[in-house]
């Protein structure tokens, strides 16, 4: 466990020594800020509109502000996750430092876990940034914090899964661009697989829809903590990290 933390700290440090972390955080903050401004603006507009027409329009901050914002966060994540994971192993393979890691008295699992954890912490750092926006909602509105917490847990789990897949893909190549592009493609596919359920109900369509990250986010987004969706994400994380371990091992047989 100690080794996991050593690796994780080193990864976090290299995110923050290079401009990567700052660029990601800044990009995320700007894009999320825009979404926030947009959604809140629309909400306020609807409120005023309703009052002027004299309609009792049911307004709910959780449903009409937080929920769309949370799904926006998961969309932004789709773009940023490949950038977070692409360097994890590809860079070590290109510079040869992988030889240091693999010949040090640490287990492969510890290396993989440390790197994945660092990626997840960087992603969590982005989520923390959204607090600066949400603070205002709590100051001027009265939203329920529990659905928000559940939705954030869902975001973390979802990102954990995609980050694990990205970590795996990063072991396949020594080229970061290839790793990033592949990860983006796979994440996007896992995202849109859900669409088949719109017109098809056959078993294959249900399997595809089940594999989609979107399917399992639905209830999290509503603020409902469902065990089966959490189990899906957690097992997907394990599967991704397991593939990473296999791939890292096979490096030695192939190289």
């Amino acid at each position: 466990m100690r080794n996991v933390w050593i690796i994780c700290r080193k990864e976090l440090r290299s995110y923050f020594v290079s401009p990567i972390a700052y660029i990601l955080l800044a990009m995320f903050a700007i894009v999320f800020g825009f979404f926030f401004w947009n959604v809140v603006g629309y909400f306020v507009y609807m409120g005023i509109e309703g009052q002027m027409r004299g309609e009792m329009f049911p307004l709910n901050v959780n449903e009409q502000v937080i929920r769309p914002l949370v799904s926006n966060v998961s969309v932004i994540g789709l773009f940023l996750i490949p950038i977070i994971t692409m360097r994890l192993f590809a860079e070590e393979k290109r510079t040869g430092t992988i030889e240091l890691l693999v010949t040090s008295p640490v287990r492969d699992a510890e290396v993989i876990l440390g790197k994945w954890l660092a990626a997840l912490l960087l992603y969590a750092g982005m989520l923390v940034l959204t607090a600066f926006n949400f603070i205002w909602l709590f100051k001027y509105g009265n939203p329920d914090w529990k659905p928000l917490a559940v939705a954030y847990l869902g975001l973390l789990l979802q990102a954990g899964m995609l980050l694990a897949i990205g970590t795996f893909i990063s072991t396949l190549t020594r080229n970061q661009i290839i790793a990033g592009a592949l990860t983006f493609g796979v994440c996007l596919l896992l995202w849109v697989l859900e669409w088949v359920s719109g017109y098809e109900t056959a078993t294959w369509a249900r399997v595809l829809a089940y594999l989609s990250v979107l399917t399992h986010f639905e209830s999290f987004g509503k603020g409902l903590l469902t065990v089966k969706d959490a189990v899906f994400y957690v097992s997907a994380i394990f599967f991704g990290l397991f593939l990473t371990a296999r791939s890292l091992e096979s490096l030695r047989w192939r190289s």
Binding site: I6, V17, G96, L100, P105, V106, R252
Partner: protein, 341 residues
Amino acid sequence: MIAVQELTKRYARNTAVDHISFAVQRGQIVGFLGPNGAGKTTTMRMLTCFLPPTSGTATVAGFDVLEHPLEVKRRIGYLPETPPLYLEMRATEYLTFVGSLKGLRGAELSNRVNFVLDRCAISDVKEKVLGKLSKGYRQRVGLAQAIIHNPDVLILDEPTAGLDPKQINETRDLIKSLAGDHTIILSTHILPEVEQTCEQVIIINKGKLVATDSVHNLQDRARGAGSVLIEVAARTGPLDLAVAKSRLEQVSGVTRVLARESRENLGVFEVEAHNDRAIRGDLARAIVQAGWDLNEMRTAAVSLEEVFLQLTGAEHQPAAADETGLPAHAPAATEAQEPAS
């Protein structure tokens, strides 16, 4: 300290290492010698648990590389061909990271970091970003990284490759000074390096073990009988090589005389004898009595390079040696070797 038995690494199309066996005693400096592509790096990677062997066994300090990789890794310091540096890190930061990865903690960790900074003479760059260091410094940081946990065994893959002559000397001296505390295996394709740094030498070629012996023994083995180089000059007019040669052959104890070089009034001969020390006086007397001058007489030094060429069965190139009467220096020879490998 290291025992290798019938170690083999096969890939889909070729066999990189083919049934190699050798043993290294504690405290020894062993040179792992062979042309590029001979299987040096592959063998080292198997010893460091980076690659699993296809068959055969290797043990380091009594631990098998396949069965107890963590124990082996704890006892090995490894410097790959390109030092495994995180170029965005500072030297101290990097060494601290590697040290903690190798299991050092707290005060011991910072003590060791300071120790290796000092030992490898990199204290002056300890706060510099590794990416900005020169090649020589990077190599030394690489060495510092390898010795940080004070391992029993050091495995260095071409530690002087790509350095300039001054850096090469510094690195060699550093490695030699480390010999007392660690058992060292270093690979190289440069022969003088082995002659200068190592006690034992393991020669491999095309994945096969060619020879393993002490540097002295290998030199002796190649030399066979001792030989003397002499330069003879005629006092007046040109020197008749044939006459001079037959005169030298008459000296008792001489087994063979080779005319190595001739210029107008002087000739260089290589004289072989069972005991070259004993015949020197007779040779000198014979030359002087024949009315010639004896300009020079010295032992014909045999370099490891010749041994190497003999052992690996590569074509001997006497032309290079004849030019100067000296053995050709290594770089030329290694270049000649490369296409063959």
